[in-house]
């Protein structure tokens, strides 16, 4: 056998090579394999598509909106039905364009999702991984704290927190984040328990690695994929909780175009002007569904037990 490559490699062959020549190629190859597993799932792609659209909408809300999301045309355009000239999805009781409000509302939705993910996931991961790896009283203390949070219904706890902190979108986010980390801690702990006695962790211990290093660099990466899947699946719930708090008047305050608050204000006209409450409802439904589809796809693609490939 000669070492000279017979033909120039295609990009695909380069990615799928079982003899990567650099760290970069190995990593890209792995990402590509994950992508191939993920993209084999049509519904997951659809979910991803909807979310990409959401992000696009949020970024370009200012350009895309035909009208202002906060100030309406009280005199000439109150409660117009969908399809009215200039108001594709109709208007609400203050004459505000619903489409523009939805577009700007997507920013709030993304804000909530990202902040909750950024606060809750790392908290849960750290608490769970440390508890699982350390064991003993550390585990007992951390897990009892987790249990206390789990003992309350999520929405009730969030309500209490918002009531204490005062209504507002930031406090709503904080309340949701504080109530949603415990399940992540449980998952991270369970994953940690399965890997902590693995030989490859023992091997790192035998190199003299500190417990902190083992948890951060060797245990946590093993928890990540199941955590990502779980967070994605939970996002639908987070959106609904945020909408619920908004609906109860404890989340975003008027005139912010938060989707839940929009439903709340449209509730009064649900029988005669159905579109006021329905349009934000559909938006919430679509985004929640997209996250669920994405989560399902990620579960297959990121399964750490893929081992072989």
């Amino acid at each position: 056998m000669t070492a000279v490559p017979s033909a120039p490699m295609s990009r695909r062959d380069w990615l799928l090579s079982d003899r990567p020549q650099s760290r970069m190629q190995a990593r890209l190859g792995r990402a590509y394999m994950t992508w191939r597993r993920f993209s084999a799932n049509r519904l997951a792609l659809l979910g991803l598509g909807i979310l990409v659209l959401l992000i696009f909408m949020a970024i370009f809300a200012g350009v895309l909106s035909p009208h202002s999301p906060v100030t309406g045309n009280l005199a000439g355009a109150r409660l117009l039905p969908p399809g009215s000239p200039g108001y594709l999805l109709g208007t609400d009781e203050q004459g505000r364009d619903i489409l523009s409000r939805l577009l700007h509302g997507s920013r709030l939705t993304l804000f909530v999702i990202i902040l909750v993910a950024v606060i809750a996931a790392p908290t849960g991961l750290v608490v769970g991984a440390v508890a699982g790896y350390a064991g003993g009283w550390v585990d007992a203390v951390l897990m009892r704290i987790t249990d206390i949070f789990l003992a309350f219904p999520k929405l009730v706890l969030a309500l209490a927190l918002v009531a204490a902190l005062g209504p507002g979108i930031e406090n709503a986010v904080l309340a949701i984040a504080v109530t949603s980390w415990p399940p992540y801690a449980r998952i991270a702990r369970a994953e940690t328990m399965t890997v902590r006695n693995a030989d490859y962790i023992a091997a790192v211990r035998l190199m003299g690695a500190s417990p902190l290093r083992i948890v951060l660099l060797h245990v946590m990466p093993m928890c990540l994929s199941s955590l990502i899947v779980r967070i994605t699946l939970d996002m639908a719930g987070v959106i609904l909780t945020a909408a619920g708090l908004g609906f109860l008047g404890l989340g975003a305050q008027p005139p912010l175009p938060e989707w839940g608050a929009m439903i709340a204000s449209g509730r009064r006209f649900i029988l005669d002007q159905w579109w006021v409450a329905t349009m934000p409802g559909i938006a919430i439904l679509l985004v929640s569904l997209a996250f669920n589809l994405l989560g399902d796809g990620l579960r297959d693609a990121l399964d750490p037990r893929e081992a072989g490939q």
Binding site: D18, R23, A26, D199, Y200, A202, A203, R205, R213
Partner: protein, 251 residues
């Protein structure tokens, strides 16, 4: 001959179970010492106790003349003593490339010239740099075990603990790995402490051995004692017979 590893009356207790019951061995520097026994004999437990992975209840462990604390080991210890595990499928992190695996010990001990060392370690175990950026699931069992050996060697230890390093491998691959281990020992003057259930492997690799059963040492003997049948314990004799294969008793 000075002593590299010694265990005196070491007892290990897991919950209520006595995994090791006052076991004593002494391994000379540069020697290759074998621990033979069946499952539950405590042979792996002794290895793990030396490595600091098993709770030592009583007794003394010494490595290169230094007495070890029951649980804690310092970094210097791990530059002296390294271990190769039984299951090549479980001992390599599934999400790390070989490169990353081999970098870890160097990073922990603050050893420079990582690039050169990794290339050299892979070369020494006969893998070459083509394997460097692969993930462990892209390797065969034998190749994985070579990576595990490279990882142990990269910090240049003087003592290697081998926990059934070839029992999960095919016979032909086992021969290759055993040859590699012997070669490395010769080249670097390493001390081996090797655990195996296979008398053939142990007598091939080791000059001195201890036969263990339910947490105790049944017999200390040299490989030549075993070959020439100078055996005192019945249990060792049984093991000898069993390792020869099935014998049909005429009905």
């Amino acid at each position: 001959m000075s002593i590299a590893v010694s265990a005196r009356d070491v007892t290990v207790i897991y919950e209520d179970f006595k995994a090791l019951d006052s076991v004593s061995i002494a391994v000379g520097k540069g020697q290759s010492y074998g621990l033979v026994g069946e499952s539950g004999s405590g042979k792996s437990t002794l290895l793990r106790a030396i490595a600091g992975l098993a709770p030592v209840f009583s007794g003394t462990l010494e490595v290169n003349g230094r007495t070890l604390e029951p649980r804690r080991r310092d970094k210097a210890f791990y530059r002296d003593v390294q271990m190769v595990f039984q299951d090549p499928y479980g001992s390599l992190h599934p999400r790390q490339t070989i490169d990353r695996l081999l970098q870890e010990p160097l990073a922990i001990h603050g050893i420079s010239d990582a690039e050169a060392r990794i290339a050299w370690a892979l070369d020494e175990v006969g893998l070459g740099t083509g394997f460097r950026f692969r993930y462990s699931h892209q390797l065969s069992g034998g190749q994985r075990q070579r990576v595990a050996i490279a990882r142990a060697l990269i910090v240049e230890p003087s003592i290697l603990l081998l926990d059934e390093p070839t029992s999960a491998l095919d016979a032909s691959v086992q021969a290759e790995v055993l040859n590699l281990l012997e070669q490395i020992r010769r080249d670097r003057g390493l001390t081996f402490l090797m655990v195996s259930h296979d008398l053939g492997v142990v007598t091939h690799m080791c000059d001195q051995l201890a036969v263990m059963r339910s947490g105790r040492v049944v017999e200390h003997l040299s490989a030549s004692d075993l070959v020439e049948g100078r055996i005192t314990a019945d249990y060792t004799r049984n093991l000898m017979v069993a390792s020869k294969g099935f014998v049909r008793t005429p009905a």
